[in-house]
């Protein structure tokens, strides 16, 4: 049915959370902002576990490895969040590349040119792939570069852009992006450019369209289903960004909850609701809360 962006509270909150088997959470702007947990967020995650409901995390942020994220959860006061619960675009991009480059046998292998952080490069290595520019297994025998992976790269340069385009002249070389986010908020209200802006540069130079792993595309949900077998009709998606989290929820068949501690404003959701365009309707959340701590009363004591 059509989403109507209703504040989730009271009896309806209990009706929505009661039957849910699990919740998927975006991280930045939902659980924490910078180095501060959203007040009540760690308690909500703890209460979900005590209620026997799954709490899984799905983040477009490709900077950190899963191990780094696990430490971050712990440092910010979230108890019991294990790496296996955390689906970052770094991890899922590595899984995607492993599938495409190593799966199915035959002429697999080849290297990946990664534009991104050490955390992203580590996930790609952990998936069994080799990176362009790193030591050759057999001296003098170069493996072709079979994929360019664009992630959040604060060391992005014209030279790297040029190198990526060189690899992409081979039509067999994949162009993959960890996420489409154009910018990210900083804690003082400023913005920092996102992977989406770097991907736009690579796409423009190469004439190619990137395969985007992160939300709102559904690949990360496929990874979640593969590992945990979640039922979309009993799972809720909680996020702060309409164009990624809420659209992701819609694309995966999940009911969606917008939390207002992050990027998107309630007025933006209402504007999408008032819009005539069919695409805009998919950006309207089913429900909203001021903060995810507002979900706590929906759980049994």
């Amino acid at each position: 049915g059509m989403a109507v962006c209703r504040r989730l509270s009271g009896a309806e909150l209990r009706e929505v959370l009661g039957p849910a088997q699990g919740l998927l959470f975006d991280c930045d702007g939902v659980l924490w902002a910078g180095e501060r947990a959203v007040p009540g967020a760690p308690e909500l995650v703890e209460r979900l576990r005590r209620s026997g409901k799954a709490a899984l995390f799905v983040s477009n942020n490709s900077r950190r490895s899963v191990a780094e994220l696990e430490r971050r959860f712990s440092r910010l006061g979230f108890r019991g969040v294990r790496g296996e619960h955390v689906f970052s675009s770094a991890l899922c991009s590595a899984l995607f590349l492993r599938q495409r480059l190593l799966g199915g046998g035959g002429n697999g292998g080849g290297r990946v040119f990664v534009l991104g952080s050490e955390g992203l490069r580590g996930e790609v290595r952990d998936a069994g792939l080799r990176l362009a520019g790193e030591a050759e297994p057999v001296p003098g025998v170069a493996e072709p570069v079979r994929a360019v992976l664009v992630g959040y790269d604060d060391q992005f340069t014209f030279a790297k852009l040029s190198r990526a385009c060189g690899y992409l002249r081979d039509p067999q070389c994949l162009l993959v992006a960890t996420d489409p986010d154009p910018w990210h908020p900083l804690s003082d209200g400023q913005r920092t450019p996102g992977t989406g802006s770097l991907t736009a540069a690579v796409e423009t130079a190469s004439g190619r369209k990137a395969l985007v792993v992160g939300k709102p595309n559904t690949y990360m949900f496929d990874c979640i289903v593969e590992r945990f077998g979640v039922d979309p009709s009993r799972t809720l998606m909680v996020g702060d960004r309409l164009e990624t989290d809420i659209l992701f929820g819609k694309n995966c068949g999940l009911s969606t909850i917008l939390t207002l501690t992050g990027v998107s404003r309630l007025e933006e959701a209402q504007a999408y609701m008032a819009s005539d365009s069919a695409a805009a309707k998919d950006l309207v959340p089913d429900y909203y809360v001021d903060t995810i701590a507002d979900l706590i009363p929906g759980l049994d004591e």
């Binding site: 604060d154 060391q155 340069t157 913005r191 450019p193 130079a205």
Partner: protein
């Protein structure tokens, strides 16, 4: 100003020049994330009062031997995407440069010929400005591309078709008197 520290969180604290009223994106082989960051900060601070201008949208600069390096268009797109706004583009195929020429010289478009090698910049600008257009084949675009546009049903592609072509601009010499 030099950027403090190694990371975006540091760069976002560097002082901004209060006099900056425009971000101009041109060909920059030293383009970096840090510069992109600063560009975004100026655009956010100034809002519509800070201009965003791009010199051109060329996506690739061909080199000898068939390779190419990324063009200014890539850098413009990066800034536009981060800032979620469109740049004002000076270069062809936009007409600003033609307007500059017209304001300096008394040009009658009906008696002026635009000569270029690139359909999507030179010829498109010429056609849009009411000039006669002449494609020379010593550069980027080929006759096959022209035929493809001619045979398409798309009006946008039709505007990439030149009025005339020559193999090289030297072929114009015989038409000129001694």
């Amino acid at each position: 100003a030099a950027l403090p520290g190694p990371a975006p969180a540091d760069w976002a604290q560097a002082p901004l020049d209060p006099a900056v009223r425009a971000v101009l994106v041109g060909f920059d082989e030293h383009f970096s994330y840090a510069k992109l960051c600063q560009a975004l900060r100026y655009l956010m601070r100034g809002g519509p009062d800070c201009l965003l201008v791009g010199t051109n949208r060329d996506n690739r600069l061909p080199l000898e031997g068939g390779t190419a390096i990324p063009g200014t268009g890539c850098l413009v797109k990066a800034v536009e995407t981060a800032a979620q706004r469109e740049a004002f583009i000076i270069g062809k195929p936009n007409r600003y440069m033609f307007d500059c020429v017209v304001s300096e010289f008394n040009i009658d478009p009906a008696r002026t010929i635009m000569v270029g090698d690139r359909l999507d910049t030179d010829i498109l600008m010429g056609n849009s400005c009411g000039l006669t257009t002449l494609l020379t084949l010593t550069g980027v675009s080929t006759l096959d591309e022209v035929k493809g546009h001619q045979e398409s049903n798309c009006p946008t592609r039709q505007s990439l078709v030149p009025d005339y072509y020559v193999d090289s601009i030297a072929d114009l010499l015989p038409a000129l008197g001694d």
